[in-house]
Amino acid sequence: MLQENETTAEARRHMAVCNACRYCESYCAVFPAMTMRREFSTGDLTHLANLCHGCKGCYHACQYAPPHEFGINLPVTFAEIRAQSYAHYAWPRAMGTLFERNGTVVTLAAAIGVTLVLLLTMALVDPSILYTAQRGEGAFFRVIPMWLMVSLAGGTFGYAIIAMMIGGIRYWREVGGGAPAPAPLVDTAVDILTLRNLGGGGHGCNDVDDSFSSQKRWLHQAAFYGFMLCFAATTTGAIYHHFLGLRSPHPFFSLPVQLGTWGGVLLCLGTAGLIRLKIITDPMPVAKRLVGGEYAMLSLLFLVSATGLLLLVVRHTGAMGVMLALHLGLVLALFVALPYSKMVHGVYRGLALWRHAREKRGSGMVAAE
């Protein structure tokens, strides 16, 4: 469990005001979840903080926002608690410190990933391969041997999944999630796949200022589904390779390349758009300490997808080798950084939504919504 600290005390003070006011009850899931409680343990606060999608509607609507002496700023307070929970539930525990100065950590991971793959490539194959055009079946693996590509990517991704699962399980137990119930998973899936809580009831969020827009929701969807398409591209690529005997590079109109291309385009658009939003948004409801890590992760995702697309463009030229190494290095960095970056929000947000879906069913709130 998170230790009591200034931020948890501040969040509890916020909840005292919010739970007596309740003007925000129609904004998102946080407020109905709050009204189900009168006392707020650190577990409850962690749950509510991870349920918060950072839409900032409650800040711009708040009669008690700064400069009011109550200084209510839930988006910042909850963002701080989220960050603390990411660090606290990191696995192994010692790695939680990586959430401090997370922007530097993610950037370093990217730099090291790229350097490592370039060096490995040069050490393991003839360095000139990096500069000469490679064509035909198995071209990629002439640059980076398949065993190396699979073991690096598979190993790091596998590690990331295990680390995040352990974090998720510890989170669920300590926060007081209770016995996992399968039925609310449907609601949870809908919440995640539609980003319902970034809808603000249909008219959007306060993405930039007190006006409403759906930019953040659409951009996040683009990034999310883009990421998923890229993942599907890799999976279908593996199926092609191992079961259909089809070796990469695949033709442009093949399934893996199509999935990867559109996934990459969406991921580029989504991450670039989200970076732009972060730059132009009203800074008041933003936890400034944390934006470094967010910029770094968004940039890394952008670079992964951008280099993937560039690889497609230059794959028949002499630039392919370097681009492939660059792309794989960044992918490697992404996988390694995954459990120690903003990306873990997906795990805890999902669990918080799951718990909320169950609490809603338990309290009969489903009919009321």
């Binding site: 739970n19 006011c21 509607g57 002496e69």
Partner: protein, 465 residues
Amino acid sequence: MVDLTRVWDVLVAGGGNAALSAAITARRAGASVLLVEHAPHSMRGGNSRHTRNLRALHPAPTDVLTESYLEEEYWDDLLRVTGGKTDEHLARMCIRASQHAPDFLKSCGVVFQPSLSGTLSLSRTNAFFLGGGKALVNALYRTAEQLGIGILYDTEVQHIDVQDGFATEAIISHHGFPERVRFKALIASAGGFQANRDWLRKYWGDAADNFQIRGTPYAQGRLLRDLLDQGVQEVGDPTQFHAVANDARAPMEDGGLAMRLDCVPFAVVVNRDVERFYDEGEDVWPKRYAIWGRLIAQQPGQVAFAVTDSKALHNYLPSVFPPYKADSIAELAGMAGIDAGKLEKVIADYNAAVRPGTFQPMKPDDCRTEGLTPPKSHWARLIDTPPFYCHPLKPGITFTFLGVKVSDRARIIMADGKPSANMFASGEIMAGNILGQGYLAGFGMTIGTVFGRLAGEEAARNVRN
């Protein structure tokens, strides 16, 4: 950059819902409009910032209101809370026009909640702003900006030059600098004087120092005083205000809605001298919450203490500040700083008078006292299950009733009964025409929107002619 050298068609003094409804309507009718708001940008919107809903007539369910709420019922509700201190012609006009208020606000970008799950079951009569009054204020300002309305923050209208009922120019203080504004029509929407403690002191003496001002500290009544001093006819009892039971530990100004306490029906309430002074269980809280501010204002020290036990804790909304909590009544009295022996006796006498009944928190039940003065007519249960709780209470003033007299076209009426040539009013500064006493939840915003629109229309027409 707002041009202060030009002659504006319409000057709107004030920056809440009533002012913005007027400004937007006048601008849409083609007038050039300058809106002058005393508060800085972050605290803009007057008391509208603290509101939550507006009461609207509707013959059939709408997307934001359930069932129906017709003129006669609305009028009856108003008649009951005002005790007849209202102007039937103006009131019925306002009630009828309220039907169109939600659509007008929607056209200005205001978003309403689909329905309400909170404790006050008002979704039949009242349309709730999504996110509350500040979100409404944000939307209205955004619309005003898009329409090209000139907006000055941190700017107080200090004086209007009135000659024979005709306003010629205004003296304003713009970021502390004196400026003159010339205009063709004035809309006064600058609220009441509830935040002006010196003015309250004239009627209430030292007690005024203990009144908490629930809303904006900018409601100083400067424009109201200025207009009344220049021959505008006044309405409403100057000594009276609307007040609720607030947490005694709330900020003295701008504490807003969350400071109100609705534990009274489930509690026993004593004053500083540890005496009960009113039937806590007279009626359901939404109908009674508005009288408790005044009741407490009339007690010594303007303070009271609501005592409950652990049974009642979840019958009312949680308070921002935790109540005093103790395992004995005597200990509780010590925490509240009142006489322990007296409180034990009050609770013992009360417990002895409680008759058995079936407790029903949401409607007047049969749990009452017998042989107790004053009685507790409903929700009277034994206070016997520790821990015991005590909420200290003070009066929280929402608004004052004194205002300028207006016609049914929002035109200001002079003391001699003649209508002003070019002055109009909307909002709290004229609400006393309709609300002579009491309050109906969400009616202030209705008056503001309805009269704001009327004032905007009339001012724009005045300018064109």
